[in-house]
């Protein structure tokens, strides 16, 4: 049914020819609002929402039909600088629209929450993505959403936290130990990444994309390169696709192992934290031997990958695979049989299935609460269409479920390593990626360890005219607020770590 709705929306607009691989359709306000209504009714999923500041400015809304895995981008021109708010009827779009208002100076008509989001009143310019950015103006103090009642008190936390984590501010309202409301304030890591993209060469853009969120550098670089390659019609050689997938699965294994350990640590169970830390370290060392960098930064380049791994390092990956599989089995057994640990994780920080569907929450957060979406299952995601893998999905939606989805995803990724190494095609590892003079638009989606990363790019005569990167965390952060409600303050680090949302990828 959702497929029919997408076709109906497409039929009501003008399809843009130079947009690949999924269609983009220019629509009017009525169709835009119709799409908002479909989002509200849960017939479509919001996959991204961003703006472009050329004359006239545009807003783009990426839509996903979950059952059929169709993706369509709707575009609305806003000659008067205004567009009907999607967030007014579909809350998952709220913060995306607040960010559009901050960066582009467009107005989302009817947006119920018009507080600035990324702009903290500290930049030298206002509306920095606008071609004629105006001078900064002082902003009103940020008004956190109220919670009133007897005995309520507020706990402000951050942006500098007690642990070694990224900066963000959390405002808790609590009644004794119990959290009544949590409201995060983000934007502290906003580096202006998308403005640095504008006018940059594609190769430089890939480096910037690889630093959107350092833990997902492979996922971001692949998403960006896919968008650029689609825009320019460049075909990536099979060996490069296989090596990219190899790097992406290693990134997933390393991060999941780190996260499983860190969740246990936040439940004060240090043994598993230390053991998983050693597993992660061994994976990163293998990554360096194979791809030249522990986090595999700058390995994925437009057209393919930067270098062909040595035969020895690929053979060593097989022994790494066996080592991780063995350790995972042993350590999982400890997790599974330690009652004091499960006492902290089972039933803690529950997110409902309705919410993950409404928000289109991807990654572990979605799959631990019954949403089956995995971007590797989308069409045109080679080499995954050649590979066998399961997408583990659980229903409980608590910290424990998020641990188990991670464990099962590592098992699946280890199987994928086997398959990728087993039939690694021969041949070149990079196409002749000459973007000079090329124009077009492309979209790339990659399943990172945190969920689906979306990159959208407009190429204009070989240069990046506009690039938008959408982190999975946009649709996960709001659910953390739901997860913590009614839990005790002391369980917040545990819930937060079980989500492990990105600050840098969200703030850009």
């Amino acid at each position: 049914m959702s497929d029919a709705i997408l076709h109906e929306l497409m039929g009501a607009g003008r399809v843009v020819a130079a947009h690949r691989p999924w269609p983009r359709v220019e629509v009017d306000r009525a169709v835009w609002q119709l799409a908002a209504a479909h989002l509200k009714d849960g017939k479509l999923t919001c996959f991204g929402l961003w703006a472009e500041s050329q004359e006239p400015p545009h807003v783009h809304l990426a839509l996903l039909a979950e059952t059929t895995h169709q993706v369509v981008v709707l575009t609305l021109a806003c000659p008067d600088g205004r567009f009907p708010s999607i967030g007014a009827v579909h809350p998952p779009a709220l913060r995306l629209e607040r960010a559009i208002q901050d960066l582009h100076g467009l107005t989302a008509e009817g947006l119920p929450d018009s507080r600035p989001w990324l702009d903290h009143g500290r930049w030298t310019v206002r509306h920095p993505m606008k071609p004629t950015a105006s001078a900064a103006q002082p902003l009103l103090p940020y008004a956190f959403l109220p919670a009133t009642g007897d005995g309520l008190h507020q706990i402000p936390v951050g942006p500098v936290h007690a642990g070694i984590i990224e900066p963000g501010h959390f405002r808790f309202t609590a009644n004794g130990e119990t959290v009544v409301r949590l409201e995060p304030r983000l934007g502290y890591v906003h580096r202006g990444l998308e403005s640095l993209m504008q006018g940059a060469e594609v190769g430089h853009g890939a480096k910037l994309a690889g630093r959107a969120s350092g833990d997902s550098t492979v996922a971001y670089a692949i998403a960006f390169c896919k968008a650029a390659e689609a825009a320019a019609g460049i075909v990536v050689p099979p060996r490069a696709l296989w090596l990219r997938a190899l790097a992406a699965e290693i990134e997933r294994i390393a991060n999941h192992c780190g996260d499983i350990g860190a969740i246990c640590n936040d439940a004060s169970f240090t043994l598993l934290f230390m053991e998983f830390g050693v597993v992660r370290e061994r994976v990163l060392r293998a990554a360096r031997a194979c791809f030249g960098h522990r986090l595999m930064m700058d390995f994925v380049v437009p057209g393919g990958v930067a270098a062909d791994p040595s035969a020895d390092s690929l053979i060593d990956l097989r022994s790494l695979r066996a080592y991780v599989a063995k350790q995972l089995k042993n350590l999982t057994q400890i997790y599974d049989t330690t009652a004091s640990l499960q006492d902290r994780t089972v039933g803690t920080g529950i997110v409902s299935t309705e919410l993950v569907h409404q928000y289109g929450a991807g990654g572990v957060v979605g799959r631990a609460s019954g949403r089956t979406f995995d971007a590797r299952r989308l069409p045109l995601q080679a080499p995954y269409d050649h590979l066998q893998f399961a997408v583990p999905v659980l229903k409980a939606g608590d910290v424990n479920a998020r641990v188990w989805v991670r464990i099962q995803e590592v098992e699946q990724s280890l199987n994928l390593l086997d398959q990728l190494l087993g039939d690694l095609p021969d041949g070149p590892v990079c196409a002749d990626a000459n973007f000079s003079g090329m124009s077009g638009q492309g979209i790339g989606v990659v399943e990172g360890f945190r969920g689906d990363v979306l990159a959208w790019l407009r190429l204009d005569h070989g240069r990046i005219a506009r690039c938008h990167l959408r982190d999975p965390s946009w649709f996960q952060w709001p659910l953390l607020e739901a997860a913590i409600e009614g839990n005790i303050v002391a369980d917040f680090p545990l819930c937060n770590k079980s989500f492990n949302c990105s600050y840098a990828g969200h703030d850009l």
């Binding site: 920095p128 890591v189 906003h190 910037l208 230390m274 522990r294 986090l295």
Partner: protein, 176 residues
Amino acid sequence: MTYDPGAAMRNIVLRNLFRGPYTEPSPPVADEALKQLAASVNQAAMRRLGRSLSIREVDAGSCNGCELEIHALNNAIYDLERFGLRFVASPRHADVLLVTGPVTKNMREALERTYRATPDPKWVVAVGDCAISGGLFSGSYAVEGGIKGIIPVDLNIPGCPPTPEQLLRGLLALLS
């Protein structure tokens, strides 16, 4: 087979007991770091160094890459604490601020306040290319372009991100 919930844990403890620790030998101190410290830190402050130091990490707009590698210092392989270096939760308990990121405008005040909250004598280590010069983010409207000029820097550890070994070699200079 009888159910023995403690078996897995017992096995791992026994195995680690007989195999010995994961921890690897210390890498040599970085010469470059020693030179920098000799130039930036006066003799009185230098005498205070060389003992156990408490570190407060501040992410001033990093992509999280540097944080991942700083985290790795705490794993059993690098085991930072064996050198008397440990991470603390508050700047008020810290001797050293380990700062990452190009210093976003939105984090500048938080960084300055963290610096002021750290008691003297204190040392600042800039970790990663972004913290040293702004890295790839130089020139953005949203960043200051590194720590220098915001708070005084005593030691730079370059890299994108620096590896745990590079971090360790730099930090050991604080103890030499």
